[in-house]
């Protein structure tokens, strides 16, 4: 498996100015709750609607073992599956965003 990886070190790190991404659906109350929470805090985020964004849905499946869980909040390297607002707050703080 390891020999499938590139032999030379590769920097995958991007320079995202907004390392917060919400994967959700318009009709999911928990997705709306998370988005509005970030709105109120004034934390910029990218919203990806899993019903219209096939890549977003595929990404979520890759992260979750095949499920279309929502919402999922990506904060840097943290992938929060259906987080509570307490969990989200902790993670934002841990990433220096809260």
């Amino acid at each position: 498996m390891w020999n499938m990886l590139p032999q030379t070190p590769t920097r995958y790190r991007t320079t995202l100015q907004t390392p917060v991404v919400v994967f959700g659906t318009a009709w999911c109350a928990a997705s709306q709750m998370v988005r509005r929470y970030l709105d109120r805090l004034g934390i910029p985020y990218v919203y990806r609607d899993m019903e219209y964004d096939r890549d977003a849905a595929r990404r979520v499946q890759w992260w979750t073992g095949g499920y279309f869980s929502h919402p999922i909040v990506q904060v840097g390297g943290d992938i929060l599956v259906e987080p509570t607002l307490d969990e989200l707050q902790w993670t934002l703080a841990n990433n220096g965003l809260y």
Binding site: Q32, W62, D86, W90
Partner: protein, 243 residues
């Protein structure tokens, strides 16, 4: 360059994501996906235990655990069976008891905008999140001079307990007896199920329905951004004819 733990995790995540497209669909790929999910669940558990978000230790559920029972409750799904009332028509007046058995009438709120929230049942999936979402937005509704009113076929006692556990402070009215007759009046009663559709009505200061939404699926919660757009439109002065 030395990365801190958060940056290192982000880098690893990006590497993990970039590898996905290179792997053919296979049990091995699925196993990697499952392992990734397990890693983040484990991380989440550690965060929760570090924050003391566990049971109270005496074998009884905490209030938070009771509030979250809906997450493991039987699903509530089904296509809408009713279309609701038309926009532009007067909202039918009614009087129903709140959780304290005090009568509440729609006409009590004449002069304010009203957001009438019909929801299927207390304690059920989606309803729990929907009303908590609205509770967290009370300041926004206040800005739009809008009064929230929840209505379901539950008893006043269920409403009282549910509101207490979830911290809901706006009125929850009991359409309990005759069961669902206000839902019938608003054309959102699911007779075979014995509870209402999930539906929203925005009623203006003169008592006219300005927005109506019946969720196409029971578990679909109306888009709050759309609701706010409707309330924002109500806040705008009406266009003057002839200009």
């Amino acid at each position: 360059m030395r990365l801190n733990p958060s940056e290192r995790l982000q880098e690893l995540e990006e590497k993990f994501n970039s590898l996905e497209a290179r792997l053919p669909d296979s049990p091995e790929k699925e196993a990697l996906s499952v392992l990734h999910a397990m890693f983040h669940e484990e991380r989440r558990t550690r965060i929760a235990s570090g924050n003391g978000a566990s049971s109270n230790g005496n074998g009884k559920m905490t209030l938070d655990q009771v509030a979250n029972l809906y997450k493991t409750a039987p699903k509530m799904e089904g296509a809408a069976e009713n279309t609701g009332l038309a926009v532009g028509t007067p909202a039918p007046d009614f009087t129903l008891p709140d959780a304290n058995n005090q009568p509440v009438s729609l006409r009590d709120f004449r002069g304010k905008n009203v957001v009438l929230v019909f929801y299927p049942l207390d304690w059920s999936p989606a309803c729990s999140d929907q009303l908590s979402l609205y509770q967290s937005e009370l300041d926004a509704f206040k800005k739009y001079d809008a009064q929230l009113i929840g209505i379901s076929v539950d008893s006043i006692y269920s409403h009282g307990a549910w509101a207490a556990v979830r911290g809901i402070t706006f009125p929850l009215l009991s359409d309990f007896h005759p069961k669902g007759w206000i839902a019938e009046l608003y054309n959102v009663m699911r007779r075979a199920d014995g509870f209402s559709e999930r539906a929203l009505y925005v009623i203006d200061r003169e008592g006219i329905i300005r927005y109506a939404h019946v969720s196409p699926q029971l578990h679909h919660v109306p888009d709050i951004y759309e609701l706010f757009r409707q309330l924002e439109a109500l806040a705008q002065p009406a266009p003057v004819e002839g200009r």
